[in-house]
Amino acid sequence: MTIVHTIQPTRIVVAVNGDLDLKTADPLREALDALIDRYRDKDLIIDLADVDFIDSSGLGVILGRYRRLAQRNRTVSLAGIRPSVRTVLDLAGILTIITVIDSPIRKEAR
């Protein structure tokens, strides 16, 4: 898994590349929390365009960040969701609580 982040005026855009499972859950959680703590006034967008696989370990990281930011009146949005990932997010009910951005997110600083 690799992650690339871009800081925009009102949001942190994090592009993730790789599978989100038990192996990658901890490093992803740590990276997202570091960004959330560093940029305390910004919302978070997770770009999943390069994620082919997610299971409940990966979902837990996303839902945990959603809860953390919601306590501070900040939001998490998901972008670039592929069909294989959408099936899992949908079954978990995540798409009813987290905003999905359908338009492509520009990836800078690659």
Binding site: D21, L22, K23, R29, S57, G60, L63, G64, P83, T87
Partner: protein, 146 residues
């Protein structure tokens, strides 16, 4: 008809190893790409459970995954010889997980994405999960039927 067996230690790198191996076996049958994606999630959940719950704090536990293809579809077993589950009915409830970030969705995904799930566990001896996925033919005859 085909059969494979994979045995590995309880480290998180092997979650991906197991699901890719089972997916490669499943791709020999008439599963759609979406079917295989769903099988991968179910395998990932079962192996993650074995690592996290079967062998808490241990990276030397043994886990065995078998896959069997026959005319009825795919059967996957995931077995560990770890701590076992005290109350399987309770463990299969959504949101049972002790860890707030794991969501307790593992068994929900296994049940939703597979066509049948059996769990056997003995505290102190280990857990065995068996899952089936039927081949559903859409549009064309399978090779066997031609």
């Amino acid at each position: 008809m085909n059969r494979m067996s994979l045995r590995f230690i309880s480290v998180s790198d092997n979650v991906g190893l197991a699901r890719v191996a089972v997916a490669a076996l499943a791709s020999q049958a008439d599963f759609s790409l979406q079917d295989i994606d769903e099988i991968k999630v179910a395998v990932s959940e079962a192996v993650s459970n074995a690592i996290v719950h079967g062998y808490p704090g241990r990276s030397d536990g043994e886990i065995q995954v078998t896959g069997m293809l026959d005319a009825g579809g795919l059967t996957v077993t995931v077995e560990d010889w770890g701590v076992g589950i005290e109350d399987i009915t309770q463990a299969r409830q959504p949101a049972y997980s002790q860890d707030p970030e794991r969501m307790g969705l593992g068994f929900v995904f296994m049940e939703s994405f597979m066509h049948g799930l059996q769990v056997e566990s003995t505290p102190g001896q280990g857990t065995r999960v068996e899952m089936h996925r039927l081949v559903t033919i859409s549009g064309e005859l399978s090779r066997d039927a031609q």
